[in-house]
């Protein structure tokens, strides 16, 4: 039998990201598959090493761009842990609500193409329509649909708009409706079952060995959810279930995500009941003027303190307050202050511009959250400077994608793309 080598991607109408799968075919069956990644590599980690801590936040939006708030959250929590600061309760609840909204958009974006790949284009339209309502909420609150930058160090960017409750209720109603419709269209559909049951099965042992986390690991029946095992924010104060699959095939991966959407809605509704009025960012410490002046003279690679005019140091100190305003240590002022007041502008400048900014103590930290695809964690090494010395993203998709070649072996070419869709590869997160 003659074998054929086929390149799927990197630019192929059926690929939802730039990735190349080289498959060796025997007729229509895949004998061997080699996955080539890196087409969307843009040097996120190197860039982050050369940006101040505040400047990194917009870059995190572009990692998993269908659930940007979860990336913002992981990064902000890692820096907060490094700084040792806490955020007020309202900010935590808001982070949870918007994190779960992001998780729903992530799952909707994953399920929509699974249907589309198998010819059920209606599913795609229903899901994407429901997603629009969620993005309207994000738009009204954060000012952007995708590049939100909502979760900031020490809190969140802004409080919710006045009509938030209406928007939320409408969006959740639409999502529920879409999920119900898609259950009706797919969950017991014989064609769908035939195309997804027992396709690309991953056993529990194999899933663990490949470092799977999130819905893909849970579809094999293994119970692990960062929100339950290592609770953060207020996840231990709300009730929700962790849906599990049985066989670890494409159908289970679809089903686990569908059930997780319902659980996320439950979390949002409980959180909305428990949230109370209050500040959305932490009370900041104030940096005294002399300390700020000294800090701004300290270069990035100079460890020791620079001495200011040794002859007159004592004399100058009294004048520092007249030279410089008191500036915040960690937390950005509200946007309204920035545009309307001089002090707000100065505070903003002192945190954002290079050479200023916050300087966490020396140390290293790894903080994970449950992302759309699994454990999403930031590893940050600080050398006491204003930029991360090393920043590394533990991308859940990276480990999952390393198993894709094995998963599709022995199946038909037509099953390659639905399998690929069921693990929800996001190029921005995979290639960083």
């Amino acid at each position: 039998m003659e074998r054929m080598l086929l390149n799927i991607g990197p630019s192929h109408p059926a690929m939802h990201g730039t990735i190349q799968i080289k498959v060796e075919l025997d007729g229509e069956r895949v004998i061997r598959a080699d996955v080539e990644i890196g087409y969307l590599h843009r040097g996120f980690e190197k860039t982050a090493e050369n940006r101040t801590y505040m400047q990194v936040i917009p870059y995190t939006d572009r990692l998993n761009y269908v659930s940007p708030i979860l990336n913002n959250l992981a990064y902000a929590m890692a820096v907060e842990k490094l700084l040792g600061i806490d955020v007020p309760p309202r900010a935590k609840w808001l982070r949870m609500i918007f994190g779960e909204i992001s998780r729903i958009t992530d799952h909707l974006t994953c399920i929509a193409p699974i249907g589309m790949e198998l010819g059920a284009f209606t599913v795609f339209l229903y899901m994407i329509k429901a997603r629009e309502f969620l993005w309207d909420i994000l738009d009204a609150t954060t000012g952007a649909r995708l590049t939100t930058s909502y979760v900031r160090i020490g809190g969140v960017k802004a409080d919710v708009p006045d009509n938030f409750e209406e928007l939320l209720k409408e969006a959740l109603r639409e999502v529920r409706k879409a999920v119900k419709d898609v259950h009706g269209l797919l969950s017991n559909n014989p064609i769908f079952l035939k195309r997804t049951r027992d396709i690309a099965v991953v056993s529990q042992a194999e899933a663990l060995s490949y470092g799977f986390t999130g819905p893909v690991l849970r579809s094999t029946g293994f119970y692990y959810d960062v929100r339950k095992t290592f609770p953060y924010l207020y996840y231990d104060e709300v009730e929700f279930d962790v849906p599990l699959g049985e066989r670890g095939d494409n159908y289970d991966r679809y089903m686990v995500r569908m059930k997780e959407i319902e659980q996320s809605i439950r979390i949002i509704e409980q959180a909305f009941k428990k949230i109370e009025k209050g500040p959305v960012r932490t009370e900041d410490e104030v940096v005294e003027a002399y300390e700020a002046i000294e800090a701004s003279h300290r270069g990035k690679y100079l460890d020791g303190k620079l001495k200011l005019s040794p002859n007159l140091e004592g004399m100058e100190k009294d004048l520092y307050d007249q030279i410089m305003a008191k500036v915040p240590r960690y937390i950005l002022p509200p946007k309204e202050d920035l545009y309307r007041t001089m002090e707000g502008m100065i505070k903003h400048f002192k945190l954002i511009m290079s050479g200023h900014g916050l300087r966490p103590p020396t140390g290293e930290v790894y903080v994970p959250v449950e992302g759309g695809n699994g454990e999403l964690g930031f590893y940050i090494v600080s050398d006491g400077g204003d930029r991360p010395y090393r920043l590394h993203l533990r991308a859940p998709v990276f480990s999952i994608m390393s198993a894709l070649g094995k998963m599709i072996e022995g199946h038909y070419v037509a099953d390659v793309i639905p399998t690929f869709a069921s693990i929800n590869m996001i190029g921005g997160e995979l290639d960083r």
Partner: protein, 154 residues
């Protein structure tokens, strides 16, 4: 606890970390034994990465392993200091995702893993010169043009 027992057995040096994840220094020679001991208790290899301490520490690189035990609800960080050009044994026989994670470390830092089945670049292309996450890689360095397989048409 298992971690302390194994750490005592191999005489590992503890590191204080802000995130309260137990962290230890290992040596290059003993890392295979230590990892295979921990492999019995830690189901998931979360991450392998490296840090370049150029001019800051005696040994230039530190390879960082991050393990997760769901049963014991704990994570574990192991660090292996390496000099430039030193090789480190591969963990790909213990956890399967080590294959890609080690390829990424090789790609970004040029650290070679002994016994790795398929050590080549993963995120960058084969003709790329240098390893971008090294601290001495210039931020604005441009790469040479790749030779085309076929000559361009007029």
């Amino acid at each position: 606890m298992v971690i302390e027992e194994i750490a005592e057995k191999y005489n590992l040096k503890k590191i204080e970390a802000a995130d309260e994840i137990p962290s230890f220094y290992c040596t290059r020679d003993s890392i295979t034994d230590i990892l295979s001991e921990f492999h019995k208790h830690f189901e998931i290899l979360l991450d392998i990465t490296a840090v370049d301490y150029l001019g800051k520490r005696d040994k230039r690189f530190e390879v960082v392993y991050l393990l997760l035990s769901i049963k014991n609800r704990t994570r574990l960080r192991l660090k292996v200091p390496l000099d430039e050009g030193e090789k480190i044994p591969s963990a790909s026989s213990l956890w399967k995702n080590a294959n890609w994670l080690e390829r990424e470390v090789y790609d970004m830092f040029g650290i070679e893993f002994e016994g790795h089945p398929d050590l080549r670049r993963i995120l960058l292309y084969p003709e790329f010169e240098g390893h971008p996450l090294r601290k001495d890689y210039p931020l604005k360095k441009s790469q040479p043009r790749i030779k085309l397989l076929r000559p361009e048409r007029e």
